[in-house]
Symmetry: C2
Subunit: 737 residues, 2 copies
């Protein structure tokens, strides 16, 4: 690899008018081949003419102001559920929009409420007959005429959104005062499509210097319903993957025509839970997602074709208005995007980006953003901040993922002028860019070594929500911790849905399956376990030699006498309180090794303390003496292993992403797969370090994920001798073997 | 009240042959009017002729040995579920009794297994057709011919019990070697009834000196299934209130004839949970309980009539074989018992005894039993023991209940000889007997004062399981703590079932209702909340002015968007993980008073620390700003109050029985009922003390529930002045006002 290839290219720099010199200097220092604008910055002619590629951001659905405000019935809309209200007497009046932010929502009474809205008696769960309620369009109220005192009622209704959420968020966060409220138009309306396409033609004409159109993103934002009181309950509902904000009578009519059945408001409202990604999707909702995905591809392709016909590339931002884009869908390549840009805090987001189907370029937007303060208001590029240390910490998190999966480009966003007083930051980013280019080149030479078995992560969603749960990391949703651990390990991972297992069993090559999550969630699987074929196929597979890792409340779907559907395989079940009278097996924990309270076992060999996890799961117990208890909380097992037929299983009451826990999971993958004899191949002795072996390049990369210097030893396969490496804090070593 | 009435009567002393002098001395000292035998002791002629009443214990169903062993098909039996087994191929063989104690159970193959047994595919939840399985009676196995690999199967089967459980427990606990294993006969068999009645005739003839037959108890023991390995899993299933051990083909046939429908094995087995009292009963099981209760009354009456015809009284022990006796049933008086004896550890058991319907004498068996060691093996009447302190602590626990509800007699059990070296114990019991007689006399003069409102405790069972959950106190089942608190408070309490509320609404006089327990349990209500009339009637009642106290997971029965059915009234709900995407209201806690972290409020006024309860309930959140948060764990409310329409509610994440928490609950009853202006009437200023005002006698009793001296002030109603009393440790004061 030539040195020059390490110092130039694959780097997107945010330019800033008024700082042309700095822009061009840093473009040189960081080897940027591309300059972008950001929200709040402009590129001046001097920058546009610098010979670099130029990214320009564009959000089509909010691009057509003031037309949008002049055509309110062409705005995007969604179903909302009114706040529950108890009937005191036979007549009950509900103000549907009460509690919602009136600058975001207005009632849609232009589409016939009697056709689209529903009123529910939530006490009985039954819909109130339409003849029993009426809408006062002037007052914005619904009156139920035959209410039962003591029953609780809600109204599912349609509301137009008059302020697009990202505009709203930026506006209110930055106190933009009387700056325009942008509204998002509904791209499924024929009139809107005409307006957007006409706008796009003009925009392309006006942006001659632009080489890459960075779409933000396509048409529908993730769901975000704001409350009226921003102090106490601003986010009444927000989900990164929910299709709630795609709904309209037009969409519902087209859906019915296509699928032969009609969806109702309750299919979207779900008693106020909406279709959060954290919950197992219904079959009807999955149909609807497919329907919208198809539409977004279809109209999206039309827009992308125009962009490409204008000689520009089309990149899409994998956030904001990404709903319906679905980069993990097999259909994603139909869009014809040239690139996909993901903002990353964690390694799993790197893998999410890499996992997109098709061949478009993968670009990461790294943190920190060039803003004065970070996400929680802490100083970054401001007095008291240490942006270099921030950058190092973000980089070591993301780097683990880049080590395992190919990424094409990286870049930054924000106000470039802010980095001027931080020369060490400028230096560090130059180094990051070089590290990135080295890793990219290695991937280009061939896939890095991975373990001789594949791992399956089993959820209700499967591959469509691979390498994420719903958006960025959420503490307490342990599957995030698990995928963050996996995203830096040398193992091939597939994401499987319960429906996949029911239909086709476990795919060939997979030797161990992880099911992790809280009961009822999409991650554990919830109602999707009701199909007995899932349990049957998995059970038969484990009995024949498969591996199973259950974390939290795996396979939980209560039936009398059993909570975990895979309890017999795990040898552990949870008594949620209905088996108080059933005695619990009194286990003898596995004898401890060097760590008090932690059973000595292959999987715990690198632990220096007892993993204390799963504080929210109570009533755990082992089924019999075949379950080996490695750790316990009083009489409740928190870490166990078991032989299950010819297979093996591990249960952990919880999991959090730490170096030691990542190692424990890594070992558990080997042990449950029955590959523990191969454990020492290409693994580091020090849990704070990781390595990747690139067999084609014959290069070994060793990384230090820690903020202190570390020493580690790697045992290659075959006759090669073990290698010991000293790494500086956050360091990387490249060894030719 | 004359002094003499305080020194004699209403006391049952356990006599012991060989210690005649001690027996008669202590009879004099303690004022015993009655002498009893105990398990392992005899009464000699000198004692029998002492002029005291004589209790003799008798357990009819195990009285007819060796006839019982010679007629195995006349023994008691029950359904058991085999351990779940996974099919590896099409043929699966299960050994039903595997894992069960073979000295307790043998297979019943004399009643046609194809008629009575069931095989279940627990993966699908479906019964396996009877033609697909067969029984090998010689090997004691069941073979399933059409099993699906990967599915889990169980066999529900009938087993005779060849060793009666109390005999088994005493035998094994005391290492009785080759002493006879007593078996219990099935009283529903006509042949058994003949044998028992003939035996009873003979027994009555032989026990001329006996004045009271103490039945232990009637016919069916509480359920107790032992495992094969007593070290790791002795109690496979044990429930104080389950009717499992009453089952037989004869009972099932008679049931079908009476009720017009047939019960199946699964009605009893419930997937291995059986019908634990902790779970909400099914309607079918409730029918079966009524059927057995009817039989126990019917045949019991026949036995009792013989006893009474012999000039003796019939007392029944409210434990052991008490199933079907049901002292809380309206039909209980039909037995015609002269007395009911309850062994008590706690005040709620005193109330349980007092709560029996009808007019039979209520007698308490106090602790400590006169044994060398206590229940957990700690020394009592042995070196290192302090039986006097034990007696004081048990007495102050029970006394709170005796203060509130009339009890007729007390007594002890065990080996009297053991008390000889403990003169201070002898003195203390003499004092206890006097205290008891004083309280009994006060109750005889009229009911003590209670608050001007009634309290309802709402469970799936209602009054049938009033003043207990299932047997003695179990830590972690918080309703025990609540009823233990209530049992010593000056409030009238009714126990209501969810079905009562659905059918009749809230009874008149009740001003506040408590619902306390874990989701799914009989205490919280579980599936019984599925009847919308419960929620509707309670909601309407609270809205009109009722009070509601929810503890733990009150009214929990999940539906989309709501976990607590009464969430709107409590202003608190629990997100079990399916509403992660729904924002939670950010509350401002009520300003603290003298205790950091505890909101100042009427109900917290006597707290000196934050009650830390409900560690097992996660995901708690308030609905809006109308819920006042008095205590929180991070962002989760753990103690809240709210106005709900014209009513009031309180929510607590948990409850444990302590003096401060009892006071908090007491205040909460007043506050939710809207009676806080009456709070100071007849309450003590010191939470470690309690008082009872007997208006007819014009006497105020003040008790110290603490092991240290206490001072307290009581404010009488009306113009009377407050009284301040100094009490010694465990002490009592009697004041004429």
């Amino acid at each position: 690899m030539s040195q020059s290839s390490l110092t130039y290219g694959d780097f997107t720099l945010p330019g800033e008018a008024g700082y042309e010199k700095l822009t061009l200097e840093l473009a040189e220092k960081w080897g940027a081949d591309t300059i972008r604008d950001s929200d709040g910055t402009q590129l001046s002619p001097e920058i546009l003419d610098s010979g670099k590629a130029i990214y320009s951001t564009l959000c089509l659905v909010r691009s057509v102001q003031p037309w949008a405000r002049e055509h309110q019935n062409q705005l995007q809309q969604n179903f909302l559920m009114s706040l529950p209200k108890i009937a005191a007497r036979k007549t009950l009046t509900i103000t549907p929009l009460e509690g919602y932010y009136d600058e975001q929502f207005v009632l849609n009474v232009s589409d016939n409420p009697k056709r689209w809205w529903q009123v529910f008696d939530r006490t009985t769960g039954q819909e109130v007959p339409k003849r029993h309620w009426s809408v006062n369009t002037k007052r914005g109220t619904v009156t139920i005429a035959e209410a039962v005192p003591g029953h609780t009622y809600t109204v599912n209704f349609l509301a137009f959104r008059i302020w697009e959420e990202i505009s709203m968020y930026n506006h209110l966060t930055n106190n933009w005062g009387d700056r325009e409220h942008l509204a998002a138009v509904d791209p499924m309306q024929p009139a809107v499509q005409k307006v957007i396409l006409r706008f796009l033609d003009g925009w392309l004409d006006e942006h001659a210097a632009t080489t890459v159109v960075r779409l933000t993103s396509m048409f529908y934002n993730f769901s975000w319903f704001w409350g009226s009181d921003h102090k106490t309950l601003r986010d009444r509902y927000t989900d990164w993957g929910d299709y709630a904000m795609t709904v309209s009578p037009r969409a519902l009519k087209l859906f019915e025509k296509r699928y032969g059945y009609a969806l109702t408001s309750e299919d979207f409202v779900q008693g106020g839970r909406y279709n959060s990604t954290h919950n197992p999707p219904t079959a009807r909702y999955r149909d609807y997602m497919d329907f919208i995905h198809d539409f977004v591809i279809s109209f999206g392709r039309e827009c992308i074709a125009k962009i490409q016909a204008a000689g520009k590339k089309a990149y899409v931002f994998y956030d904001d208005h990404w709903v319906g884009v679905e980069p993990s869908s097999e259909r994603f390549p139909e869009f014809g995007f040239d690139g996909l840009i993901k903002c990353v805090f964690n390694a799993f987001e790197v893998r999410l980006c890499a996992h997109a189907k098709g061949n478009c370029a993968r670009e990461l937007r790294l943190h920190p953003y060039l803003f004065p303060t970070g996400l929680k208001g802490e100083p970054t590029f401001a007095p008291g901040g240490n942006p270099t240390l921030d950058a190092k910490n973000f980089w070591i998190d993301a780097r683990r993922g880049i080590l395992r999966a190919p990424i094409d480009r990286i870049g930054l966003g924000g106000y470039l002028s802010l980095v001027e007083p931080f020369p060490d930051f400028q230096d560090y980013i130059a180094g990051v860019a070089q590290e990135f280019r080295r890793l990219k080149a290695l991937h280009a030479g061939g896939k890095p070594w991975t373990a001789p078995f594949k791992v399956g992560v089993l959820t209700a969603w499967g591959d469509l929500r691979a390498w994420t749960c719903s958006g960025h990391f959420i503490k307490g949703v342990e599957l995030y911790d698990v995928i963050e651990a996996l995203s830096g390990l040398p193992v091939d991972v597939e994401f499987l849905s319960l429906a996949d297992i029911a239909e086709n069993g476990v795919p060939r090559g997979i030797k161990t399956i992880i099911n992790c999550g809280a009961a009822g969630t999409a991650w554990s699987g919830g109602e999707h376990w009701a199909d007995p074929a899932v349990e049957a196929n998995l059970t038969a597979w484990v009995q024949r030699g498969g591996g199973l890792i259950g974390i939290g409340q795996p396979s939980a779907l209560a039936q009398p006498g059993r909570t975990f559907r895979l309890a017999a395989l795990l040898g552990v079940d949870q008594d949620t309180g209905d088996r108080l009278a059933n005695g619990k097996y009194k286990f003898t924990p596995v004898a401890a090794g060097e760590v008090d309270g932690l059973g000595q076992h292959f999987i715990t060999s690198d632990c220096t303390q007892v993993p204390v996890e799963g504080a929210q799961v109570h009533g755990l117990h082992v089924l019999d003496g075949d379950t080996a208890v490695l750790a316990a909380r009083g009489s409740e097992p928190t870490l166990t292993v078991r032989a299950a037929g010819k297979g093996r299983s591990m249960y952990a009451a919880g999991f959090s992403f730490t170096p030691e826990n990542t190692r424990l999971l890594h070992r558990a993958l080997y042990w449950t797969s029955g590959y523990e004899a191969k454990w020492s191949d290409w693994n580091t002795s020090n849990v704070r370090t990781e390595c990747a072996w690139f067999p084609q390049a014959k290069q070994l990369i060793v990384i230090n994920n820690d903020g202190e210097p570390q020493t580690t030893t790697v045992k290659p396969t075959g006759a090669r001798k073990a290698v010991t490496v000293d790494l500086e804090a956050h360091g990387i070593a490249v060894l030719d073997l």
